[in-house]
Symmetry: C2
Amino acid sequence: MARAREVSEFAAIARLAALFRGQSPHVVLGIGDDAAVLRAAGRLVWTVDTAVEHVHFERAWLTLAELGWRSFQAAASDVSAMAGAPVAALSSVIFPAGFGASELSALARGQRAAARTLGCQIVGGNLARGGELSITTTLVGRVKRPLLRAGAQPGDELWLCGELGLAAAGLRLLQRGSRLQNAAARRALRAFRRPRAQLHAGLALAGRAHAAIDISDGLAGDAAHIAQASAVRLLIDLAALEAALSPALRRLAPHLGASALELALYGGEDYALLAAGPKRARPPGARVIGSVGNGRGVWLADAGKLRRARPGFEHSGGRKRPGVGV
Amino acid sequence: MARAREVSEFAAIARLAALFRGQSPHVVLGIGDDAAVLRAAGRLVWTVDTAVEHVHFERAWLTLAELGWRSFQAAASDVSAMAGAPVAALSSVIFPAGFGASELSALARGQRAAARTLGCQIVGGNLARGGELSITTTLVGRVKRPLLRAGAQPGDELWLCGELGLAAAGLRLLQRGSRLQNAAARRALRAFRRPRAQLHAGLALAGRAHAAIDISDGLAGDAAHIAQASAVRLLIDLAALEAALSPALRRLAPHLGASALELALYGGEDYALLAAGPKRARPPGARVIGSVGNGRGVWLADAGKLRRARPGFEHSGGRKRPGVGV
């Protein structure tokens, strides 16, 4: 960290250091040295997530502050899915020609707003020039007992925390250059531009759920990760899922050539949480959308009939290319 | 973390998980869930560093394994400069079209080799498609008492740990497409392609040095960071510095249109450490190249005459653009 090869970039760092100043008891040293220093005890969850221009977003789709917010919340969603509480973050930005100090600051203000909402401090990072804009966010969180993908048990309920499908609808509106301006469209655009990691829902799952994952690639795909890691069958009740979807999504879906259920199952972009746990432990706010049984894979129950969920993903446009965690 | 939207990418993750398997007592959970889990106590240093194609490297200059090695060591150098010992790392790779599973594996093998050398485990990461190749490495290290840039005191010696200038010479050979094949050229190319973070030197500085930084942007520029953070004057003795440079560098410099001293002062790419500390505490292997005094800035002592070090940096080619830490 802490490289500055041009005078203007010294200034950029000074501005970012001022923007990101904080007073977390977990942070011994923030921006300005070779590395940040944290005070740690117990278990830490640690994740990294990258948003790449022309892959995960187009700059025309959202403001730079929204981009900073969105990329930060996406990384925090992984911490939430482990039942962790974000503590500190580093941000590595690759920026193209024409992306100057004011653009960096706008991006940073969005990151800072997201960090504050999550009780987290940005303690350093890296800036590098490149051909296209990308933001890589790495987050450390505290956790007592991390909630894994493995652990779901036959007999568990499937719980949904947060909203599904709406952000995918917002993305499709943007990809199509839609001029739809009703309340439902505004909600969908906001869901895409200003997602929120399910911090409190994640913490509430600790000690209650047996397994959890964040749903950023569509319910079907992320459910498959729990099914595989837990060696169980996940049954999604389509009627229960449909009842959990927002009226805005149901109103928008016909304009997007998809059903609300398709957007929820295969859409992505949401950062809701999917968890499995026993009925008696269900936390307030979690909606039951299915159950866990013996077997393998993800199945959809539709008016009493069972069918296997499609293994693949339905991408909403040609521009969006995959990101893959390791 | 842990997103996979295509079947082939599930396979890529499985391969990486197998490659990066480890048994560090500090790692509770590695690759395969939403986040990694570490066991932590005390203080942690934490850094992120990004290497971007066409900015920090060209793929024609080094193998993918060397690129993985180099990018990992560059990130570890920041941990070493804080007197920390790397514990775990996450790797976020943006890869362009045509960069497939075998290329990812080659890159990962270089990262793994570097991680093993440093006693560090790669516990996760992110893969995303993009227009150009970049590797972002975030590293956590243990540290008892972090060694900062601030703390150098008048009367301290200036210590150099590691080699200066040779990697910059290697980079210039590559940028010029030089066909020089003598032993000096081979050493320089190796210094660029296979740098080593000064892990043991950094640990040896703990409790001895008052301040330290890693020299990745040339001695003059990184010395300025210590001078500024410590509010002191750093005096570099050019005769002592020249004596510390390798004969290979002195042989190569004339071919590169620069002096050996210029390459050491303004070249970059080295990942040596610069530290300030009292003579009685000088660790074995550290070479004295100057002293700390009252005042400000970085000064060069040349046969009894003092001049201020150039504030700017002499870039060796038009293709290399700056990276900046925050």
